[in-house]
Symmetry: C2
Amino acid sequence: MQLEFSLKVDGPDPGTQRPGGRTERIRTAVVAATRAELVAHGYAALTVERVAETAGVAKSTVYRRWRDTTGLLTEMLRELVKNEVPLPATGSIEEDLRELARGIFHVYADPVTRDMVLGLIAAAVHEPRAAQALHDFFHIRNVQAAESVQQAIERGQLPADTDPVEVIRALGAPLYYRLLVTHEPIDESIAEHAALAALAAARAGVHRIR
Amino acid sequence: MQLEFSLKVDGPDPGTQRPGGRTERIRTAVVAATRAELVAHGYAALTVERVAETAGVAKSTVYRRWRDTTGLLTEMLRELVKNEVPLPATGSIEEDLRELARGIFHVYADPVTRDMVLGLIAAAVHEPRAAQALHDFFHIRNVQAAESVQQAIERGQLPADTDPVEVIRALGAPLYYRLLVTHEPIDESIAEHAALAALAAARAGVHRIR
């Protein structure tokens, strides 16, 4: 429920008002085309024109709703994560964070998705539009995932001045560090370790609002 | 002292036995040429031949001592970090970790160095030789930096089964996460926060050897 709400308020019209309607069919086709183009040709070849053609949608429609490649990438990332990394709400902050971290690991356990997302992250080092898409996507996603931390704060299980988004950043960072920087392997246990470290630092009052 | 030792045992002959001698002059010229080539043309154009030519050193010498671009990059990264991120030994684990994290931040505060290193990290997503260089460099560097954590364990300031390298990974990861993934800014206070979070998790016994 929360994800749908955020998509509505934060993004270009995703057509969720009429699931199964024409708006939603266009969105689905455009997201699939963006992903297919990235997998086949990488970020360097990604254009609104190619996505429109692959999706069988008028260019003007794609421009109007997503504006540029940043808009297309942000929408594609949201869809990817909505389907593959559901937001947990187990009632236990430790379980929620473990599950979230395992979900991130599983995105990168699939070689096609891994190459696509890491390729986008690589492109973003040089391409401001790709960087903007990552920034926008992770901003929205990390705020959504932080809801679980917020609830733990409200239950009195974490210090009242904990910064919920910082806990989420801390949970994801060690996985990306290994994937991108040290090129060390990741697995479920490393993901869970990242979750527990984020939680321990939060409990110690380090991840407080500054 | 420890760094010199590690360079001797782990790497291709760095010529440290005769500082100021011909071996060391060649090494210095090759490191400078590798860096200059990367800054000017990026990883895609980096070859042993170009580095040898820029350095004014025989190709055969560069091949014999560094083998390929992986060897050149690993050596260049070591030199960069040896000069710009000294290993602290203040006697306080908290101060050491803060200083180390600030040192990482300062590498990326310089736009030329930042573009060069992030460009290399981006290239490594697609280029196994660049990935190997990062892996080799960070392995050596993180083991060296972990010496400070090891000493804190021996002083009884951290749990006896703490994994020293994991503490160092945890310290660096949040900075790279912002630089590469979320494209959020970094500063000294974010670096110190990363150090304190790594330390808090270590104190809580999360960064233990598994």
